[in-house]
């Protein structure tokens, strides 16, 4: 099933979110930096997907930074997805992001996979 690519780009803000639907899940490629200024945009873009109940994979390979406000949104996305019968997987976080997750013990709550999701849409 093909869904139109939803892209959100703001030249001023260092964040880009790309959503690609695949056969069994939806892959969201998050690139740039997540902080108090950019995180609301992530919620805006991904929140509805989480509510859809489809399994959700966040490809974090191009996310160079994430702060505590981003962690909050990740927890919210996780809870939303679960509440809707779906799931959330964080894929290929970079060291800074992984450290933020580990230090806050969120790696116990969230599903984290080291490998990047296959980029080909199904």
């Amino acid at each position: 099933m093909w869904m139109p690519e939803e892209a959100w780009v703001d030249e001023a803000l260092p964040l880009q979110v790309d959503v690609r639907d695949r056969a069994s899940d939806t892959v969201v490629v998050v690139s740039g930096e997540l902080d108090f200024a950019t995180t609301p945009h992530l919620w805006e873009a991904v929140g509805p997907l989480a509510r859809s109940g489809r399994p959700l994979v966040l490809d974090l390979a191009a996310l160079s930074f994430c702060d505590s406000s981003a962690l909050s949104i990740l927890v919210r996305l996780h809870r939303t997805a679960q509440g809707s019968g779906g799931s959330l997987v964080l894929a290929a976080p970079q060291p800074q992001v992984e450290a933020a997750l580990t230090v806050t013990m969120l790696h116990r709550l969230l599903t984290i996979r080291p490998e990047q999701p296959d980029g080909d849409p199904v």
Binding site: A12, L13, P14, E33, D35, F36, A37, F65, D67, S68, S69, L71, S72, I73, V75, R76, H78, R79, P95, Q96, A99, A100, V103, T104, M105, L106, R108, L109
Partner: protein, 808 residues
């Protein structure tokens, strides 16, 4: 009591009869005899003078009886006397003839009293103890005296030699007689005379000897008169007078010699007292133990004339164990260094146990010598010792044996009683001085230990070279109330504290300890200097005894290279600028701790190369110099502060220069030299807007890359982001971001105008928010917040790998 003839001059006390009394008595007796009307009268006057001339200390007469006799043959007796003799008398038989006596009439002799022969008695009868004529001690005296005089009656002998004295001491009778003595002489025709005295006090033999001269004078006096039928022989009389004169000259010579001896002895005594006094004064004023024991050993060795002397003394170490040290005098230390400490051998034991002095003319002949293994005497190679003197040094306070003096000489018989006396005297002073020195050292050590325990461990602060010195007052043992402190504050800042609790002793030290802790506590809260002093001042008002405390408190901030300080009544600090110019800072800012309520805060630039000097009044104030002059000298000293020297050495030289090496008061000095090497800092203002955190991260990332600290980038960026986010969220003005690296620690701090204090919130795992400071707390070695005049600073420290060492 019947009346007695008034005594002519009862001034002679026979117990104290000396040469001067003898001379006077001899002259009196000669005069009374010469002026008599005849021989019998002369004899009467002589015995009367003898009876009346002596009294004891209470004025009681001591000569109980005196009699003067001549010895004559039967043929020489006058017709009247011869009537008493049996007809068949041998004309050559000799008789004792009483010429005069006195004393018997006044108080009759008790039954056991030595009586004087009262009638003419044949000498051979007198010599037989069982004969009725024998009169006990007096008879013994007279027969002995006559035998002596017979030996001296030979013609050709000088008149002065023709006299004799005799003594029967140790008489005891109910009547009070204690001794019998007498003297006699040969008259011109060979006739003997003798005088016997019964005396109520013991008469020393030396006194009896003095009567030899009296005998000569009586002989001269009697020679004036024909004693029997003959006529006086003028030649014999002249001879006797010459003899009398010679005797007197001899006596006065003897007297002069005796006087010399006495004067010499007195001088020696005075010398001994002088020596002891000088040594005593020196020793008891000496509190330095090493100097004291050496001086004592030198003094005693010199005073005893020993070839060498040693002083072994016991000390107690810090663990309470006793150990022995020694000093030597008169011999180099190498001579004894290979011998072990003397053991408790038979010779040494009395000294080490304090039993008493050992003095020997030849110790090698002493029965105690050579009885101990393994040396049996002196070890091989020991200096030869024959004369030996050893004296214990006993503590007057504890009676413990503190040590012993040992003196030796290779010749025998070198040490006299006087040397022993001197050595004992010096040992006595040494004991007092050792006691004093031990007590003083113990007290001083306690005080110094107390003061030292109050001193901080000066931390190593990157780029700051810190030297400190605390010197207790050179005089007195009481600890002072000076203190200094160096406190590492967050974000690479350092607090420097110097203070002075007025007063001395344990009380001042106790107050100092409390105030020092209070300053340290408020400092750790990272309060601004003015607030630290304000809180401490309020606290001090509740500390008894903290009535006058001064304190200078300064904080160095390496990010902007400033010094922020406040001063509670302390002396100004000295700030040396990198160009060498010197300023006094903080002079007269505020009142002392416990008095002042608010404390002004000032700021000065403290760039690389600058120096800060904090000190207490002991450095600049003294009895010799006022405060103004002292400050001027300090400024001059810091202007020429040697840069090339080790900082601690340079500080010690500065203290020496200001105190001339002796300080009346405690001196505390804290000197800080700013020498930037690893320090890096960067500051950027934060602008409101959605990109503030991103820009801040970019700023940090760029500088960390520049500084070669990319290894901590991730952590630093997370921390920066969180701190900036907080500032933006909670304050109208996000303020300033500062980055500082001191070589081992990276500090990120964000100043804002908000007043809320950030706290780490407890969050459960699936809660969304509240992880900001949790992250900061988890990722940094420490973080915190401190108030500023217009808001607060939140800071966090991240450990960084040690910088690579520069190639040597």
């Amino acid at each position: 009591m019947t009346g007695r003839t008034p005594r002519a001059q009862p001034d002679h006390d026979i117990a104290r009869f000396g040469p001067p009394e003898m001379v006077r008595l001899a002259a009196e007796l000669r005069t009374v005899a010469e002026h008599a009307t005849g021989f019998a009268d002369a004899a009467r006057r002589v015995v009367r003078r003898l009876c009346d001339g002596f009294a004891d200390e209470h004025g009681e007469p001591v000569v109980l009886r005196a009699g003067l006799y001549t010895v004559r043959t039967s043929a020489a007796l006058g017709a009247a006397l011869r009537r008493h003799l049996p007809d068949d008398a041998d004309p050559a038989r000799r008789h004792l003839v009483p010429e005069a006596s006195c004393g018997t009439g006044a108080r009759g002799p008790a039954a056991d009293e030595p009586a004087l022969p009262t009638g003419v008695v044949a000498l051979d009868d007198l010599a037989v103890p069982s004969a009725p004529a024998s009169t006990g001690p007096v008879a013994d005296l007279v027969t002995g005296l006559v035998a002596d005089l017979d030996a001296r009656a030979a013609p050709g002998l000088a008149v002065s030699d023709r006299v004799g004295v005799r003594h029967v001491p140790g008489i005891a009778s109910r009547g009070g007689a204690r001794s019998v003595f007498g003297f006699g002489g040969v008259l011109d025709d060979g006739t003997l005379f003798c005088v016997a005295l019964v005396v109520a006090v013991p008469v020393p033999a030396a006194t009896v000897e003095l009567f030899r001269a009296v005998a000569v004078s009586v002989q001269a006096g009697l020679l004036v008169h024909p004693h029997a039928d003959g006529t006086p022989d003028p030649a014999a009389r002249l001879d006797a007078l010459h003899a009398h004169l010679r005797t007197l000259e001899q006596v006065s010579d003897d007297q002069a010699a005796a006087l010399d001896t006495v004067v010499g002895r007195l001088r020696a005594e005075a010398g001994l007292v002088d020596t002891l006094q000088v040594v005593g004064q020196r020793l008891t004023a000496q509190l330095d133990l090493d100097v004291l024991v050496q001086e004592a050993t030198d003094a005693a060795t010199k005073a005893t004339g020993a070839a060498f002397g040693a002083f072994f003394y016991n000390l107690i170490d810090q663990y309470g164990e006793s150990y022995t040290l020694y000093t030597l005098s008169g011999v180099p230390r190498e001579v004894f260094s290979r011998f072990p400490m003397p053991r408790n051998t038979a010779v040494f034991a009395p000294t080490f146990t304090g039993e008493g002095t050992v003095r020997s003319d030849d110790i090698t002949r002493d029965p105690r010598y050579g009885r101990n293994e393994p040396h049996h005497g002196m070890p091989e190679g020991h200096l030869p010792v024959r004369s030996y003197l050893a004296v214990s040094v006993v503590s007057p306070s504890s009676q413990d044996v503190l040590g012993g003096f040992f003196f030796g000489h290779h010749e025998t018989g070198r040490f006299t009683a006087r040397h022993e006396q001197l050595a004992e005297g010096i040992a006595g002073y040494a004991a007092i001085a050792l006691d004093n020195a031990r007590l003083f050292a113990a007290q001083r050590a306690t005080a110094a230990e107390l003061a030292r325990s109050m001193l901080p461990i000066v931390p190593h602060v990157p780029d700051l070279r810190i030297a400190s010195r605390y010197l207790p007052a050179a005089t007195g043992s009481e600890v002072g109330g000076d203190w200094f402190d160096v406190i590492e504050l967050p974000a690479g800042r350092t607090a420097f504290v110097i203070g002075d609790v007025v007063g001395r002793g344990v009380k001042a030290a106790a107050v100092m300890g409390q105030i020092r802790t209070a300053v340290r506590s408020y400092a750790m809260l990272d309060l601004p200097p003015g607030d630290v002093l304000r809180h401490v001042s309020a606290l001090a008002a509740t500390v008894p005894g903290a009535t006058f405390v001064t304190c200078f408190y300064a904080v160095h901030d390496p990010v902007d290279n400033t010094l922020t300080y406040a001063n509670a009544g302390h002396l100004p600090a000295v700030l040396t600028h990198p160009d060498g110019a010197v300023d006094l800072i903080g002079e007269g800012l505020d009142m002392p701790i416990g008095v002042g309520e608010t404390f002004t805060q000032r700021r000065a630039s403290f760039p690389g190369g600058a120096r800060l000097t904090l000190y207490t009044d002991g450095l600049v104030e003294s009895r010799r110099r006022g405060l103004t002059d002292g400050l001027r000298e300090l400024v001059a000293g810091l202007r020429d502060f040697p840069g090339g020297l080790d900082l601690q050495v340079a500080c010690d030289k500065l203290i020496d220069r200001l105190t001339d090496g002796r300080h009346d008061d405690d001196v505390a000095l804290l000197h800080v030299h700013h020498q930037p090497t690893h320090r890096r800092a960067a500051t950027t203002p934060l602008e409101r807007g959605p990109l503030v955190a991103a820009k801040a991260r970019a700023f940090v990332a760029r500088h960390l890359a520049e500084w070669g600290l990319t290894g901590v980038s991730d952590t630093a960026l997370t921390v920066t982001s969180e701190l900036v986010t907080n500032a933006v969220k909670h304050a109208d003005n996000p303020g300033v971001l500062r980055l500082h690296h001191d070589g081992t620690r990276l500090t990120v701090d964000v100043a804002d105008t908000g007043t809320s204090t950030p706290r780490v919130l407890e969050t459960t795992l699936d809660e969304e928010g509240g992880r900001g400071l949790y992250l900061v707390n988890a990722l940094t070695s420490r973080w915190g917040t401190r108030g500023t005049p217009d808001g607060k600073v939140v800071w966090a420290e991240i450990r960084t790998p040690a910088p690579p060492r520069p190639e040597a």
